[in-house]
Symmetry: C2
Subunit: 418 residues, 2 copies
Amino acid sequence: MTLQEEMLYIGKQAREASQILARSKTNQKNNALEEIAIQLDQQRNQLTSANNQDLEAGKNKGLDSALLDRLALNEARITGMIEGLQQIASLPDPIGEITNLNYQPSGIRVGKMRVPLGVVGIIYESRPNVTADAAALCLKSSNATILRGGSEAINSNQAIAKCITAGLNKVGLPSEAVQVIKTTDRAAVGELIQMPKYVDVIIPRGGKGLIERISNETKVPVIKHLDGICHTFIDDKADFDKAIAVAFNAKTQRYGTCNTMETLLVAKDIATTILSPLAAKYTEVGVELRGCVDTRNILTDIKLATEEDWQTEYLAAILSIKVVADVDAAIQHINKYSSQHTDVIITEDWSKAMQFLTEVDSSSVMVNTSSRFADGFEYGLGAEIGISTDKFHARGPVGLEGLTSQKFVVLGDGHIRQ
Amino acid sequence: MTLQEEMLYIGKQAREASQILARSKTNQKNNALEEIAIQLDQQRNQLTSANNQDLEAGKNKGLDSALLDRLALNEARITGMIEGLQQIASLPDPIGEITNLNYQPSGIRVGKMRVPLGVVGIIYESRPNVTADAAALCLKSSNATILRGGSEAINSNQAIAKCITAGLNKVGLPSEAVQVIKTTDRAAVGELIQMPKYVDVIIPRGGKGLIERISNETKVPVIKHLDGICHTFIDDKADFDKAIAVAFNAKTQRYGTCNTMETLLVAKDIATTILSPLAAKYTEVGVELRGCVDTRNILTDIKLATEEDWQTEYLAAILSIKVVADVDAAIQHINKYSSQHTDVIITEDWSKAMQFLTEVDSSSVMVNTSSRFADGFEYGLGAEIGISTDKFHARGPVGLEGLTSQKFVVLGDGHIRQ
C-alpha cells in the first residue's frame, strides 16, 4: 500500500466507524471513556516506559528542554488524562438534543436535533496527553477520530492508543472509532488534510507555522487559532485597584499561554497615575516593558516599542504598552492588531463597556476581568478541544458543541404543502 | 485597474463597510430596508425597461424559455421583492443577542453575543430578484454583501442595485454595504472566491455545475447544497391515507424544486396494497414511474429503474420507486443515495419514527409530512438565503442566523485567575 492508499483506508474505516458512533447510546460512550481510563491506569508502567523511549530519542536528537517537558508523560500527567476521561464521561451527551420544536402556521412542528460532525482529524505536536483528551471529546460527541501526533511522541501515542482500543473493544464499539496514525512519515499530514470525503473537520494544535501551513493547504474545514495577541485596555474610568490586579494577572499568571496579555493599552488621562505603580509590579517579577513614545515619557527607562511589537505574541515575560486617547482609539488599535483571540476593557463606565463588548471583533471580549479566563473549562464548557478565532462554525473556546452540527427535524400528521 | 485589482478594491470597500454595519443600529437597518422597498416601488418603470433589455438580449442569444422565465422581472415579481424587503425589516434583529450569560465557579459571567460574519459573497444565476432578497438578508444581519448575478441579468441587477444604493444613502449607511458587480467578465467569480481576506463566506445559488466548480476552487467557506435527491419511505405501519396524500404531494406539488421527492421507498409488506392506488394518482397527472424489480412485479407496465435513477435529481415529472425490506433497508438506501437534503418516513410506529429521525443523516429529516415543507419560510426562519447540506456552520435551510456567528462575552468585577 502506498501512503496515500493507507491514509484513504484509514479514512474509509473512520467514516464507517462514525456511522456506528452516530447511533451509539450515551451509556455505551460513557462506559468506553471509563474503560479507557481504567486501561490507562492499569498500563501506567507501559506508558511510562514508552514515554521514556521517546524522551531518550528526543534527547539524542537534541530537542530543547521546553519540548522535552511537553513530551514528558509523568505520573501526574497520566493521572490528568485519566481524570480528564472521567470528567468528559460525566458531561451531558450533546448528541440527540432536540431544541425549539415549535408548531408552524402550516401545522407541522419544526425543531433542531444535534448530530455529530462525523470524522475529526486532529494534528498536534509533542504533547502525548492530547491523544487521550482529544479522542475522548470526539468520542463523547459521537465523532470518529484520526489522530496524528508529533513523530517525537510516537511510542507514547501508540501506548495510549492501545489503551483506547482496549476500552472501545470492551464496550463493543469499533476500534476504528479512534485511530492513531502509526507512520511518522510527514506526508501523512498532507494526505489527511486532502480527504474531504472521509474527514469532516481538521483541528490543528501547535505552533503558528504548522497551523498556517495546514490551513493554506487543506480541503477540509479547519477549527483553529493562529496565535493570541491579547489586549487589556485600562479606560480612564477604570477602578484603580481592579485595573492593577487584572492587568498584572493577565500578563504574569502564565507567560506561555495564548490567552496571556501581550499589549496593554492605557487611556491618556489615567496613564501617569497608573503606569508607574503597574510598571513597578511588572518589573518586580521580571517582565520587560516596551512602550510607545507617550509611555516612555512616563516610564523613562523602558525600551521603545516598534511596529513589530504590536504584532507580536511574545509568549514570554515581555509586555508592550501604548497610551491611547480614549476607548475609540483602543478599539481601533485592537481591531487592527489583535489576533481576535481575547481582548479586555477595564472600566466602571457602562456605555464604554457596552461599546467595547459590541465593537471589538474578537472571539472573546471581556469587561473587568483577566484574559487568562479565556478557556473552555473556565467558560463552563466542561472541556476544550481548541480555540477558534474564525467566525465560521465555532468562535472562541470549542467544547463538545463545536464538534456537532444540527439537523432539522419536522413532525407532521399527514401534512401536505398547499 | 486589472480585474484582480478591481475585485480586491471591491473587497476592501466591503470589509470597511462591514465594520460600519457591525455597529449599525436595528432601526437604521430596518429603515434602509424600507427605503429600498420604496425605491423599488418608485422605479418600477426603470426596472421593467432594464429587464426588457435583458430579456431581448436573452431572446437574441437564444436562451430557452425556462431561463427567460427566471430572468423576467414582471410587476408581480417586483411586488414580491418589495414585500420581501418589508418582511425582512419586520423580523427581529439577530445581531447583539446575548444568550446563556451565566455565572461560573470563578465568579465571572460568561455568555455569547451574536455577531455578523462580515462580508458575504453571493454568486447566482438568472433570477434578478435574488439581488434584492439576498442583499436584504445580509443587511439585516449586519453583513456587507458582494453580489455577482448572471451576465444575462446585468441590466436588471444594476437597476435594482441603484435602488439599494439610494435606500442605503437615505439612512446614512455606506453604499459599499451592498455592491453589485458591474463587470460581466466571468473571471470576476474566480477572483471573488479567492479573497479570504475580504470575503468571509460564499453562497452560490444555481445549477449543480456552478456550485461544484465554486466549491472546488474557493478559498472561502461556502454555504451550499449541490442537489436535492429527496426520499419518502412508506413504512408498513403507515396510515394508508396519510401515506397516499404525502407521497403524492411530495412529488407533484412542484416538480422543479430541490425539496421535491425523487425516490419513493415502500416497505415490502405494504407494497402491493399501496402502490397500485398511488401509481394511479401519479399516472393521472402525468408522472412517469420507474421501479425496481419488485415494484415492477406490482406495477407491471412501468420502466425498470437503473442504478443511475437512484442517483438522479429529476426536477421533472419522473419518480423512481423501490421496494425495501424494512426501515433498516430504507435508512441504508437513503444514507447511500440521498443528497442529505430532506428525507421522510411515513409511519404510525413510534420506534421506527424515532430510529429514522436519529439515523438518517440528512439536513432535514421528517415524519409524516411532505418534503416540500423543507424551506426557510415554512420552518419559521422568516426568510432563506439558501439551503446547506453540509454540517459545518449551517445545516438545512439557512435564515438570518446562518449569516451570523457568536462571540463570547465575559463580565467580571476585577476577577483574576488563580
